[in-house]
């Protein structure tokens, strides 16, 4: 039913072309709140990916059993369960990272990316494709958080993943690790992504026009 090409397309589209953060602009709360360091971005991204993949798998497998009237509540129960499991696991394995963003782990439940993928994709596609879609979206989200977190950490504390990368003479821009820094970096990156998309579109249009003229 679904060839390997389709599988790959679903996997890859979430990373750049339909990046959940920069293109769909979903899940803004964690993208702004926990990205004051690269490591926080990694942990938050991986926790969200885990929840996204597991709930897409469950929802896709059960999609024919769940009556449509109660589908949203059922999705939320499934998502909340995996979030709680992720919360406990993180607390048991990485206490320091959990300590830094305890409140935001619980808030993965209300991350629009997860409910969005459940409703838009997993509820109407077979398990394999749904997992590929979730993995791609999760990877795109994780990369976006690492990008935002990395930029904020370098500018705000002169370090990356805890290692100093800028010399001692560098005066950290404290604002970058504070909430306004999140908005500034996110805004700048959205601008870059929008510009790149626009240029690509124009190039494609020009190529099409050239092909038309050459014919």
């Amino acid at each position: 039913m679904a060839g390997p090409g389709r599988f790959r397309a679903e996997l890859v589209k979430g990373i750049v072309a339909e990046n959940p953060t920069f293109v769909q602009v979903l899940g803004m709360c964690p993208a702004l709140a926990v990205t004051n360091s690269g490591l926080n971005g990694v942990v938050m991204g991986l926790a969200t990916t885990f929840v996204l993949v597991m709930s897409s798998l469950m929802i896709s497998a059960l999609r024919k059993l769940i009556p449509s009237q109660v589908r949203i509540s059922t999705y939320i129960v499934v998502i909340a369960t995996f979030v709680t499991v992720a919360d406990f696991t993180l607390q048991a394995t990485m206490p320091a990272a959990h300590h830094e963003m305890a409140a935001f782990i619980a808030l993965i439940v209300v991350n629009c990316i997860i409910l969005g993928r459940a409703e838009a994709f997993a509820s109407r596609n077979p398990v394999g494709l749904s997992v590929a879609d979730a993995l791609g979206m999760g990877t795109g989200f994780t990369l976006a958080l690492i990008l935002i977190g990395g930029i904020r950490e370098v500018l705000g504390s002169g370090a990356l993943f805890g290692f100093r990368v800028l010399g001692a003479s560098f005066e950290p821009w404290v604002v970058m690790v504070l909430p306004p820094g999140g908005f500034l970096v996110l805004g700048a990156l959205l601008l870059v992504f929008a510009k790149v998309a626009e240029l690509r579109q124009r190039a494609a249009a020009r190529a099409a026009a050239a092909q038309e003229a050459g014919r």
Partner: protein
Amino acid sequence: MSDGASAGGESLRLVATLTVAGLVSGLAIVLAYRWTLPAIRAHQAAALERAVFEVLPGAERMERRVWDGSGLAGAGAGGEAGESVFAGYAADGALVGWAVPAAGAGFQDTIKLIFGLEPSGARTLGMTVLESRETPGLGDKIYKDPKFVGEFRGLAVAPEIKLIKGHGEAPNEVDAITGATISSKAVVRIVNQAAALWRPRLPAPGAEPSAAAGTAAAAPAEQVPPDVERGGPVPGGKPGGRS
């Protein structure tokens, strides 16, 4: 849903779906909780033990003591409830000092810390923050700035610690952190209140039996009851306003 019977059947199906989802979810959460609980408890106990040894330099062993209203009893007497401190002993069994957990309002949220007091209760031996949500880059210097943390070594707590802007020279003066005056104030206030509360309760030096004779062998890390991990209750912590 043209007739009543199928409408009833339909509702039943909805209720059944949600019930099953809830049951399975509950079971999964309980399993995850049971499975991770030992590791989480161990992390909390290890973190507390690290903090106690950090604020009592030279201590090799710690024992929890609970205030029973008239004196300090062993951990067993008061159960898990009640306010408690930790006695730290050196390798030779001499009392190094008391580690006092305390909490109070900071700039954004409650600051939980633990500090060490000499056996006499006159000076601090060290201070470390257990939990805080102070502003990153500014308020978090209360535990990230070695100079500020270092001030709490050998600080006189009587009559009380004073926060100074500039250079404090007296033995009871602490320099405020530039840009984090409220967080600095909060730490000083929390330590002052807890010191005032506990100083009269500590046994006179010498009265405390050195290394509670019966337990000379290294005691295993004690299970940490949740109330201790959060820091003992401190009355009257007022929220600090912006300055």
